[in-house]
Symmetry: D2
């Protein structure tokens, strides 16, 4: 069985998520398209790189991503660094002929993303952007229903991504609140997942009308580089610095299909944790998904008899997409790990089978274009083309 | 105990709802502020008026609303006709010195509503517009929490009103789909309930940015005047006529308080029936309400310890607003009837105690101004002042 | 239209519920089978009787139920007193040839219930016992599905009735905690509603195996006779007296059909209010109901394709039982009032049409036999025949 | 960092679950107590053993478990075979001085389990039985609340485990339906998980009163040995054979603490998939858990003010048990994998730290005693001691 050597650039919690995906993928998808081998992990701090290798089961480690990108033994570059370094690493990796999977959002801007897209196309390598939530079996099931015409022509897509981890003004100013590193705030960090779902399920987005809010204007400066996602609170008279990205974004959508929609994303919604939802209304049915109850998909078919019509709560399992590979009984439990295992499978399949996987850098670029249009629309208060 | 004589103009299902409210109010609120006496019911068809009197327990009936409005024995005029006749009846009733309760929306436009508001102010009578959903005890509890500061300064209000009763293109072209009678579609019919909640809970709305859709361009002409709300389907080669109102409306909101928000309303959401929801995010908490589970309110307080924080599901009962008057145990069951009983109580209290009740014609007028701004914004694709 | 004169014996919150049912029934069910006229209300305290007449809209009042029962103008005796007086009143009413509706449970014991049953059979009058929850449209829909064979042969019925209004040891010792008045505790007060549902939906119960608990052995003596259902808490060194009924009951069931089941009822479940649920498993489907979300019924059909199978959430409306009479859109709101209106309709129809209504005194007697068997089984710790 | 060599006896889906747990544990828990090394995997079919090694990442494989158990390089024996071989393997492993983790139930009977318990005690090795659901963070949080006294003295525990994978009479007669291999049916397969939770959260169980049902008396003989959990349906005139275990079990419980309870488990509940729930009523609060929504725990505290009391929905995350090790935001997603990773961690910690882990073979033995008592009680129809 073919083996593909992976070098992972960066750590944080995403390093954990990607590592278990490589370890687990062949266990779930068997025969596996290829065995991903955790070869090299990179951190600019050599000690942290060594720890990451021990922890995540990589054969070796390095503090020099440039050398690793050039390493002829490496087949895949996996980029899990903050957003500002995605482009530089990916472009170098593409030039070196490596297949690339990059954490989302693809980059800070459409322009930066375009350079990355051009690089992978030029190099002819496989590329993927890690919008993993789309890999939840229930969302793949939604796609299947839509493709089968089960809800008819889509009229409206309403998505949300609500969190509360930075609702506390004392949660620290991590890189996720800095425009020069992150590109944007809730928009790039979380709303892009829902934009990805909207494009996947409905079609591309041609125009947006948005508003953004920065509710908490300054936050305590974070000591140490680790991204704690707000779990560590500042206390006492800590120094504060301004936030220059959005805490919250709301946008209307127009799709190329004629459908309309909206997305609302915030990190200031007390009580919401990872509240990724969408509701899709079609001419002959509706679909509802909430990631917080991700084992299930709700679907209503207008063709059901009037006295028996209502949303069906379908728990995904062997009868549904990815079901044979995952667990033998619905509701045994789809977690974050499982979404990443499916992602790893689909990426590695695309390499082995020489096919395109989605979302790839083109999708990542399109999402960046839409994101830029959202920021522009919020600034100008006008409907703005996103295509 | 004082008795107030009521004349109800119009029937339909709203006649039923108002009649049971008058019958039941003193049973629930005791001692009652006054006993509403069902004196006269009016329908232009005399036979239907007679039937309505028998059915709804009115002492007598008439086919001439003008004469009834002038009747010195009548204290209260209750208007439950389609929207196009609200203004004429209300203005006449005000001139005759009657207290007035009028079904929502107040009228077809802000201009028409303004004439009604001027009339009741001029006459010095009491006035109410029947946005009854606000009377759900759980919504009154939301108001109480907000006034107590339990969720802090409000950042965002997101409301929905989703239905499916006209999602079928064969559901008939009742008056609710005709601009000359209804004024607007989903906007006036259902979105205004949520606008009312938004103003009640957050504050007035100063600016809107909206889109509207008419998904089903023509519908079968309805035979017979009764408003069946889409339950009777056309078949065969029935004649169709154009729909000239919105099936669906989405709007962003800016509040005078600095909060932002959105409302989405549609009658094309298969599987949604009376899905009136709002989610409010404040600086120190959140509130969620869904009318389909109306006995409960969900609330999250940021001040709860981190290991015990989450939305609390509070079932309203004796410990909550209107609780002493309603049922002795939470979840015994709040239905449509109970919301109308509370409404009747609050209106009649305002007459007896010579106080202002809300929502009154001023609120109805403001909602009409906001509704007009929503239609204007949808047409111009621009943020539009609504104050 | 025929008019039937009602005399209501007793008040409390049930007086309110029955009164609004009489007032509202013809408004909902039209043409009504007959118009129930609120003629006389009875309370042993004359002043309270007068107040009840004013509040509940009765034409006159009395403090002497015996005289009222004999009154030739009265057609219907409605018994809403505590359990210990049901038999005496009902037997006298039957002898006087009155139709009788009696609050649940029918009486304190099977023996007492048998006398009542014999009396109404002897007199040939119509009789009903007010297990109103069965009238929730969603439960009537469950019955319809079962009769249509939609879930196949029933295997198992699991019911609960969980409340918390007496979980606080300081909630007062109302009559509901006294065996000589109530007969039993949670069993008669709430579990009997679920026994009624089980018999209605599955069939009669032939054998039980039960346990009971009295968690709070004594409670503060209540001053004043009003039944506050635990909302008034005692404080200070109030006198306490023993509780001699069950706080909680759990029982296994065997049905004559071969199905099995269980019921668990308690008033000591913090956070549960009126948590009446059942889950029914059949050979080809399942049904789930929770009264706290009473507008909906959940049903799963095994015949659905494997990739679209799951519980459907059906909101009851015009397409379902009683739907034409109630509200024109699902989820507009079924409350306690609506269940009582349907009950009043079905009882009055049985009088006018000379048919048997269910649950009648025979059902009430059977439930009493089953209740006695439950207490006997809890005492002997053995499976006990209930037929 | 210490390394512990694991030999896994058996495959099936449990092999997958255990393998990813070993791979992922150090990624999540860092520094790890030790690194579990996947050394040897055993299947009686050598080709399948080889495949398992490739798939699950084991260094080598064998078809002779006896030789592997004696292998001095092996530290841990992991038993994931059907129930009838647990005892023989575990006793041999104990004699060889290996630490043992064994899938549940521990064995087919209490007698068999006792031999295993005696063996591990005699050998002084560490031992665990893999009731992994208890490791769901939300259940660990329930334990924490209970230990902190947050819901007071426990009165009642109600558990369920409802599935539908064998509700279809055409689902095959796998070993799970054969008494000589499985010991019992739904009881051993699923109810024991809930018995484990009950003992963990409330205390030991001293007496039971049970009923069991075998709804489907015979099933199609399965061709091939793989356990498909009912996903493969028979068709045509396939041969059938009798089922000699329970499809369904219901039992009352008495705890040594004075609490009471019930457990109901079935594999014949259409629409239920992995519906593991419990509701615990205490003197000052309640807890509700449903594994199908396993990221959350619901808890009600009686000490909350009356106007703000209700079940809180707490999503587990960094502020809760195991939270630091798992994902940085609540609702990112706990799946089956995560429960197995926590289990592996706790087992390996017990080896490294020389402490007892729970549930261990003593717990497994106690659960077997209780299971035997349940079968005995169902047979005799009497309350039966289980201690």
């Amino acid at each position: 069985m073919r083996k593909l050597n992976v070098a992972m650039i960066g750590g944080g919690f995403m390093g954990k998520a990607h590592s278990i995906a490589y370890a687990g993928m062949p266990m779930f998808f068997w025969p596996a398209p290829a065995i991903p081998h955790r070869m090299t992990v990179v951190d600019i701090n050599e000690q942290m790189a060594k720890t990451a290798a021990d922890r995540y089961g990589f054969e070796n480690y390095s503090s020099d991503w440039r050398r690793v990108v050039e390493d002829p033994n490496i087949d895949i570059i996996d980029i899990v660094t903050p957003n500002d370094s995605h482009a530089e690493i990916a472009i170098a990796a593409a030039k070196a002929g490596k297949h690339i999977i990059c954490e989302k959002p693809l980059a800070r801007t459409a322009a930066e993303s375009k350079l990355m897209l051009d690089a992978v196309k030029e190099a002819g390598v496989k590329h993927m952007v890690a919008f993993n939530y789309r890999r939840t079996p229930a969302i793949a099931l939604a796609k299947k229903y839509i493709e089968e015409g089960a809800i008819g022509k889509i009229l409206n897509f309403r998505g949300t991504y609500l969190q509360d981890w930075s609702a506390d003004p004392n949660s620290p100013l991590s890189w996720r609140f800095k425009k020069d590193i992150a590109g944007s705030g809730a928009l790039g960090d979380i709303a892009t997942h829902v934009i990805d779902m909207a494009r996947y399920l409905v079609g591309d987005i041609t125009e947006v009308m948005a508003t953004t809010q920065t509710w908490i204007k300054e936050r305590p400066v974070q000591s140490g580089g680790v991204d704690k996602l707000g779990t560590v609170k500042a206390s006492g008279d800590v120094q504060k610095a301004p936030v220059d990205v959005d805490d919250e974004v709301s946008t209307f959508l127009r799709f190329e299909t004629g459908a309309v929609g909206s997305i609302e994303a915030t990190r200031n919604a007390w009580g919401r944790n990872n509240f990724i939802t969408f509701e899709i209304h079609g001419e002959t049915g509706s679909i509802y998904f909430n990631y917080e109850n991700r084992d299930e998909l709700q679907v209503c078919f207008s063709s059901d008899p009037g006295d028996r019509r209502g949303f069906r709560t379908v728990y995904t399992g062997p009868a549904h997409p990815y079901g044979e590979a995952l667990w033998p009984i619905p509701a045994l439990g789809i977690g974050y790990t499982e979404t990443k295992i499916v992602e790893a499978h689909d990426f590695i399949s695309s390499i082995v089978n020489d096919t395109e996987v989605s979302p790839n850098f083109y999708d990542g670029y399109r999402i960046a274009v839409i994101s830029d249009a959202i920021l522009e629309s919020a600034r100008t208060e006008k409907w703005t083309k996103s295509i």
